[in-house]
């Protein structure tokens, strides 16, 4: 009897190990449980040195996913526009945290292929925004959407420099963490 119970327990333990092992093979993204899968059109793809992914080795975001990171408001001037501009969007640093980015430079690429290097230090030092609405309007490619990197140049006068102006990439669609 004891032998039978012991036999059953050994079998159960083996089966449990097999199930757990099998599950881990079936669900290779179990570690990325923190990053949801986009339900709507993808507006941002983050790749490169990141720890969190949801599609292959990339992190794809739709508008809802980005908004879930916490929307912020920013009112500042912009080197390419006249007058005060109002933006709403997410902090660039929140996006980097969400994908567990581990790099020093971000290569941002716009819908039209324009590409720019942004030091991670900028993002960690200043509250740089990935703007999603501009003066109350949702940003589409036609008005610099879907995302526009906006530096708070009024709040941090040291950012009023050409070095930062060229980093304010619009129509941003892709970030490569290097």
């Amino acid at each position: 009897m004891i032998l039978l119970v012991r036999h059953i327990l050994v079998r159960l333990a083996g089966a449990t190990i097999a199930v757990v092992f099998g599950l881990s093979l079936i669900c290779p993204t179990a570690a990325t449980a923190g990053l949801a899968t986009p339900a709507g059109p993808v507006i941002l793809v983050v790749k490169g040195k990141i720890g969190e992914t949801n599609v292959g080795d990339e992190a794809h975001f739709d508008r809802e996913m980005l908004m879930a990171l916490g929307m912020r408001s920013l009112t500042t001037h912009n080197p390419f526009e006249t007058g005060l501009q109002e933006y709403e969007g997410v902090l660039f640093s929140d996006v980097l945290k969400a994908v567990d980015a581990d790099g020093e430079v971000l290569v941002g690429t716009a819908l039209d292929g324009y590409s720019i290097e942004i030091p991670v230090e900028d993002i960690m030092t200043f509250p740089v925004m990935l703007a999603m609405t501009w003066n109350g309007e949702v940003m589409r490619p036609r008005n610099k959407g879907p995302l526009w990197v906006v530096y708070p140049i009024d709040q941090y006068p040291e950012l009023q420099d050409e070095t930062y102006s060229v980093r304010t990439i619009w129509q941003l669609a892709d970030i490569d963490v290097r």
Binding site: F80, L111, E117, N143, D161, E162, T163, W170
Partner: protein
Amino acid sequence: MKFSRSDNFSVFVSILTAVFLALSVVSMINALATIRQLQAVNYDNSGLATVQLRMHFNLMMAELRAIEMAPDRMSADEARLRYDIVYERLRSLPQRPPYDEILTSRDLNDLSLMFDRIKGEVDLFDAAPDEGVEVLVGVYSRLWDLQDIMNQFSGRVVQQASDHRDEKRERIVQSTRFLVASTIGVVVTGALFAFLLWRSYRDLRRRNRDLELAKRDLEQASRAKSQFLAHMSHELRTPLNAISGFSDMIRRKAVGGDISDQYVDYAQHIYTSGDHLLAIINDVLDLSKVEAGHFEIDPQVLALRDEIVACLYVIDAPKQNNCRAINVTVADDCESITTDRRMLKQILINLLSNAAKYSPEGCTISVDARRLENGDICVSVTDDGIGIAPEDIPRVLEPFGQSRTNVQVSHQGTGLGLSISRTMMEQLGGSLTIESQLGQGTTVRLRFPPDR
């Protein structure tokens, strides 16, 4: 204040260095600004954005053409994306650097024209997702003529961007040349400074050597002078003794005989003149000794009152000048003084002789000794004689200097007494000062340092 040629050159080099330094600072600021601009690696300095605009426009037109040819096989998404990109680029191009600087009014007109034409189709592109791709049929034909404008526009702007870049490059080259030139200027003026410094050092050494030689020569000359004076005085005194001695015998008719009174009178003149000459020789000898530092100081503790009284006996003032009274006051705390007896007596005799000499009959002379707060002993000799004009006081302290007001009695003195006394007081570590007003008497103050 006069500047020598060397000083002028130094000032010139200093100004030149300051100018070059200022230029260097300006150049460095310029260079730093240029470096910062160069660091903005993504600055579009080759008209890339215009090229991309044309590329996206062509892609949009290709997509629209395909839609026009086979609308049933196409999706509106790609055309819409290209349309949005072209729309945004046309709108924002004039505001982004360097296009905000390089676009001409013709370029801006072309841009405005193209933007208006593109914007005119916006409703169709917005309707396409709902109403189908067919709504975009005809757009290609309407925008077809823009291709030529776009090509010309981008060609011109790329050239302008290139010119702009060349201008910038030229500015960088100029700024670098400027920096190099001002640095060379700083180096050259620095070298000139070093040369001037070396030359000053060399001149200083040469002057020091010359001064050393001059000092040695002067010392030698001074020794020679003192020696000469000592020899001369000795040589003069020897025959003078004979002159004085024999004239004294003649005036006193010491050897008897019949001598006329006129000869006795002549002998008296010879004797007086000889006596005066002896006094001058003695003073000259004393002065040369004092100046040469040959007067050896032998400090002794002396009873001040006794020394003053002894000097009074020597000059015999009442007999000489019928002085009415000579008052001597010595305070209790300076009864004794430590100083050189010979010098003290010579100084006092000089002062008392002057006081008696330059005072009228029936005069009063006072000698007052007291201790000052700082411990010095002050001996004052005061007379109520003719006095000295204040402006003459420095003169009477110089060798052979006499007051212009005393010319009528100047022949009685050598003009060396006060000068010798002052030099001796300085050698004793003290001082001699004169206070006087014309017609109101004179006070000469001797300050002896405290006993050590």
